[in-house]
């Protein structure tokens, strides 16, 4: 058990390193090997990262919602840490989508922002994730924050699905690259799935790293409590010794 724990940071760093290397390799492949798109030019290359980031966001936030449901039914510190880590990394991915999306939109549609369904969904989902985190941190007691944050996260999943339907009925166009035959060569296909794999690896290792951090914070809190108990007991002994001496 102790050897296992000692190895954990090393393994986490190895995972993070692998994710980063994969990302760099994917970047190289995208920019130096893959041909530029015939119609869109070099801007199309954003797509490789844009889609992978969106996948990562969806995975993380779905996992966070599932973890919240489990923790609400049967509280479990590990599940809770996983849920928190997923929420945070999901937010980072969402920010990535909201950065790469407008960059692409600017070049291909001539505007920074359109109320396009998936972009709108990402924005709303990011706001909900922020609400979950803020709600959690604003509660007077940690356990209360955990419960109400989880409750909101559980509600968010089905509602986000309805938001998805709503903005699709409401909104405009989104490039249908995968279905629409936008991937023109096998180089592009490799670049696309390679980027997705790299980003998901990076995301997974970030979640694992953050989870480890949260677990350590939880342990610190327990240790501080134990310390407080020891101090209290020592103070009591001191009091009773004084009483005996007099």
């Amino acid at each position: 058990m102790s050897a296992n724990t000692a190895n954990l940071p090393t393994r986490l760093l190895a995972g993070l390193g692998a994710g980063t290397l994969l990302c760099i390799a994917a970047l190289g492949w995208v920019f130096f090997v893959t041909p530029a798109d015939e119609n869109l030019g070099i801007v199309q290359k954003i797509f490789y990262f844009h889609v992978g980031t969106a996948f990562g966001m969806l995975l993380c936030l779905c996992a966070a919602s599932a973890a919240a449901l489990i923790d609400l039914m049967a509280p479990n510190d590990t599940i809770d840490a996983a849920g928190q880590a997923c929420t945070e990394v999901g937010m980072v991915f969402a920010l990535g989508v909201l950065t790469s999306g407008p960059l692409w939109a600017r070049k291909s549609w001539g505007t920074w922002w359109t109320w396009e369904p998936r972009l709108t969904l990402t924005l709303l989902v990011l706001l909900i994730a922020i609400a979950v985190m803020v709600l959690r941190s604003m509660a007077a007691e940690a356990q209360t924050g955990r419960r109400i944050g989880n409750a909101l996260a559980v509600l968010a999943a089905p509602v986000a699905y309805l938001i998805h339907i709503a903005v699709q009925k409401w909104g405009g166009t989104h490039p249908q690259v995968i279905q629409g035959g936008g991937i023109q060569s096998s180089d592009m296909r490799i670049a696309f799935w390679g980027s997705v794999l790299a980003l998901l690896t990076l995301g997974f290792s970030l979640v694992a790293l953050r989870m480890r951090g949260i677990r350590l914070e939880q342990r610190m809190a327990h240790l501080r409590l134990d310390l407080s108990a020891l101090e209290l007991q020592r103070a009591r002994r001191g009091v009773s010794n004084d009483a005996n001496a007099t």
């Binding site: 501080r224 409590l225 407080s228 108990a229 007991q233 103070a235």
Partner: protein
Amino acid sequence: MTGVLQSNPARLSARQLAWSVADRFVLLGVDVAFAAGTLTVLWGDNGAGKSSLLDLLAGLRAPTRGEVLLDGVPVGDVHPADLARRLARLGHKPGAFLDLTAHENVKLLATLCHVSPSDEAVRQCLDRVGLARRDQARVVRGFSRGMMQRTALARLLLTGADVWLLDEPSTGLDAAGSRTLGLLLDEARQRGAAVVVATHDFSWLPKPDHWLQVRGGQLSEAQP
């Protein structure tokens, strides 16, 4: 201190109760039992944890460690409605809806505790705590603290709670009010309730069965 040993059965007891706020224990390793038909006084410095202890005993907060038992059953396993009826906590907040009259308050809160009193029974209870008839039909918002306390006490009388947890109940009561309060607590004790009072003012109390000092996060039997 390992508990107040009684010939009577313990109505409410706590085992190794602990309560922490922001990584610090306020209460730790509290073992205590409050027997039926006893009056216990909790006393101690401000911030010693008297109110927190009463909140934990009333099940308003989940303890960090340990558990609270009502008639030997962990409070988590008691039906919440039974808990609301049998455990009465009188704290610093009024406990009564400010825009209802004293009469409406007592009747509604008793009904929620699945005791459905007649108007006459409500009036009698309010008479007994010494609230004038004309005040009984007044909205509580304009009440003084003492009148508010009387309204809250009337509800406890009506629902016949087994355990009374009172936090500074004499605050704001005049001499007559304190006397009435003392009589009511004595009566509740004789009826077999476990009465626990946290207070700094002992002058009005009927003779307590136990004195417990809250100090250093635990209880010890000591008189001020």
